[in-house]
């Protein structure tokens, strides 16, 4: 019955409570969206890095090399000498050595030169290859192109189509610049379309490395980077130390680079999290203020309840019930908004980087909701106490 009184009061002031509920829901959603997006981004970057045990590239920025090889982003670093590549290819310490050549693109999608070994790339030996053919076949000859699922979708490419690659990484919108850099004499033919990998390579297009050497003069061979899949950890570490103490190239563990990046991003994430907490605190303050105003607005009614014999606990229960009703509606709404915002962030990342942010439910969401419920309950006690302290006799004297 008490609940029914509270419910009737809320129904009477539906607009005010709807607004309060909305503010509370937005406060929850902000906190949840930031938490989810940060966690999901980490998971997706780790997921994207999994097939790449070690990347070897020219000396320089490790982060840039990892961005090139794993995410097909940033300006390509310089080439590694062909001799270095061949030495590692032949020394038997690696299960697989996969060359990568960057530098050309087609309407914003990177064209990656590699060998057939690329199609054996897998997150671990127990898992299947990440490259699976949807239509057509893998490249076998020069100027044959295999396109990633997202690249094919965006560029409208299908098996049998032909494309003229541009030198450099022209933006898809910068048609004029792209046109000026087209390798007019070299036309690729699409021979295969890949199944979605849910990785940044979905945005890529793949051709034989011989095609790259052919386009870029033929005489000078070299690779932009190569992926190393070791037989074992000892072999991996020996190659890593050897590379990084020498002067010819650098070895990079993408997972480690991602960790370093998160260290940098983490500070921004921390700031964002603090902002989201501040927004949440403002939301909670709004809820408490709204309840407080609600108590002030019906001082008279509370005085009547007091005159009828309603005690402290009864008034407290009524206000807490109202707070709980606001929470019961705002919590699922906040969860929904939070997941929607996080989903939009995921879509954006997918569009820009083909990084797949998994839609998941985080246990932290429960902590956020529990904290919100606790603050709501404690916050409700304040107006309830004020309701009890009011001058009943004075309020009953008025009309």
């Amino acid at each position: 019955m008490l609940m029914s009184i509270s419910f009737k009061y809320i129904t009477k002031r539906l607009r005010q409570y709807a607004l309060t509920t909305l503010v509370a829901a937005l406060a929850i959603s902000m906190t949840i969206a930031v938490t989810l997006a940060a966690d999901s981004l980490k998971d997706s970057v780790v997921y994207a890095s999994m097939p790449f045990d070690m990347i070897v590239g020219a000396k320089g920025s490790a982060a840039q090399l990892a961005l090139n090889a794993v995410f097909l982003r940033d300006t390509p670093v310089g080439n590694v000498d062909q001799a270095v590549y061949e030495r590692y290819m032949n020394d038997g310490r690696a299960r697989r050595i996969i060359p990568l050549a960057f530098g050309d693109s087609y309407r914003g999608s990177w064209i990656v030169g590699s060998s057939e070994a690329l199609f054996t790339l897998r997150p671990s030996e127990r898992e299947p290859e990440i490259f699976q053919i949807q239509e057509g076949r893998f490249f076998q000859d020069k100027y044959e192109l295999v396109v990633g699922s997202e690249a094919a979708r965006r560029l409208g490419l299908a098996v049998g189509d032909t494309v003229k690659a541009s030198h450099g990484m022209s933006d898809i919108l910068d048609e004029e610049l792209a046109a000026s850099r087209v390798h007019n004499n070299h036309i690729y033919t699409v021979v295969g379309a890949l199944k979605p990998m849910r990785r940044p390579y979905d945005l890529g297009m793949f051709a034989s490395i011989e095609t790259f050497w052919d386009i870029h003069g033929g005489g000078e061979r070299g690779v932009s980077a190569f992926i190393v899949t070791p037989w074992d950890y000892v072999g991996l570490m020996s190659m890593y130390q050897e590379l990084n103490t020498g002067s010819e190239a650098q070895g990079v563990f993408p997972g480690e680079v991602a960790g370093d990046l998160f260290g940098v991003i983490g500070r921004g994430e921390e700031a964002l999290r603090l902002v989201s907490y501040a927004v949440a605190a403002l939301g909670f303050a709004t809820v408490i203020l709204s309840l407080y105003w609600s108590v002030l607005n019906r001082r008279k009614e509370n005085a009547i309840f007091r005159a009828l014999g309603a005690g402290r606990s009864t008034l407290l229960r009524m206000v807490v019930t109202e707070s709980a009703m606001v929470m019961l509606v705002s919590a699922p709404l906040g969860l929904l908004f939070g997941h929607l915002v996080s989903g939009f962030i995921g879509l954006y990342l997918r569009r820009v980087m083909a990084v797949y942010v998994p839609a998941s439910f985080s246990v932290q969401e429960l902590y956020i909701l529990a904290a919100y419920a606790a603050i709501g309950a404690v916050g409700a006690a304040l107006p309830a106490a004020s309701a009890y302290r009011q001058d009943v006799a004075g309020l009953l004297a008025g009309e």
Binding site: M1, L2, S4, I5, K8, Y9, T11, K12, K300, E301, I304, F305, R306, A307, L308, G309, A310, G311, R312, S313, T314, V392, A393, L396, A397, G398, E399
Partner: protein
């Protein structure tokens, strides 16, 4: 008859919000009201009629003196116990009705039963509210909101609400001041009936001398002289 209310040397003093000086709102050296008595309280504005009713119902505590109501020393009870005492022992009727505007007539009556902490089920509360509202002639207005009722009807809901917990004491503060003569008569007859049929102790404070014509005793707070057995006309 047993003594239902006894006040001894009761004073209520307020600090004036304007000057900050102490103002005596009520002084009662001795007052005794018997169970089932029908007592009217009159006095000029500011004589302490409402304060006296609030002290007897436990809404206010006296600044000094003893307040004994239905065997309980109200002046020594803490607020929670006074709240529960009031819910179970005192039915209140006010000049301005004081119904909860977002509850129906029936819900207003049922709400009073909630605070008495009894073992009544929701269904029993509903049935009692129906019975009480029918007994005050509002059987057809159970689900009307206060705003849909006339002043007289609202005051009848208040009477039903005051009787909800079957209290031994009914206090009414200017219950007819806002009513036309016909509705005034209806309300007074309902109060007399409750006093006679349920043996309730009825205390009614009013400016209206006519309203006190049916009372066996009138307490004049201006001189605190109790006029036994006559109407104060």
């Amino acid at each position: 008859m047993d003594e239902m209310i006894r006040l001894t040397n009761v004073r209520k003093v307020y600090r004036s919000s304007g000057s900050g000086a102490m103002v005596e709102a009520l002084r009662v050296d001795r007052l005794s009201i018997l169970a089932g008595e029908r007592a009217g309280i009159r006095g000029r504005s500011g004589s302490g009629k409402t304060t006296l009713l609030h002290v007897i119902s436990g809404i206010l505590t006296p600044s000094g003196g003893e307040v004994m109501v239905n065997g309980a020393r109200l002046d020594t009870l803490g607020e929670p116990k006074r709240d529960l005492f009031r819910a179970r022992n005192v039915g209140c009727i006010f000049q301005f009705f004081h119904l909860i505007p977002y509850l129906t007539a029936k819900e207003n009556v049922t709400a009073a039963m909630l605070f008495a902490g009894g073992a009544m089920s929701r269904r029993m509360m509903g049935e009692r509210a129906d019975f009480l509202l029918e007994s005050v002639g509002l059987g057809g207005r159970l689900h009307h909101m206060p705003g849909q009722l006339s002043g007289g009807e609202q005051q009848r809901v208040c009477v039903a609400r005051a009787l909800a917990n079957d209290p031994p004491i009914l206090i009414a503060d200017e219950p007819t001041a806002n009513l036309d003569p016909r509705n005034k008569d209806i309300i007074l007859r309902l109060l007399y009936r409750a006093n006679e049929e349920n043996r309730l102790t009825l205390l009614l404070a009013t400016h209206d001398r006519d309203a006190l014509s049916g009372f066996t005793r009138v307490i004049d707070l201006d001189d605190m002289s109790a006029m036994e057995g006559e109407a104060a006309c």
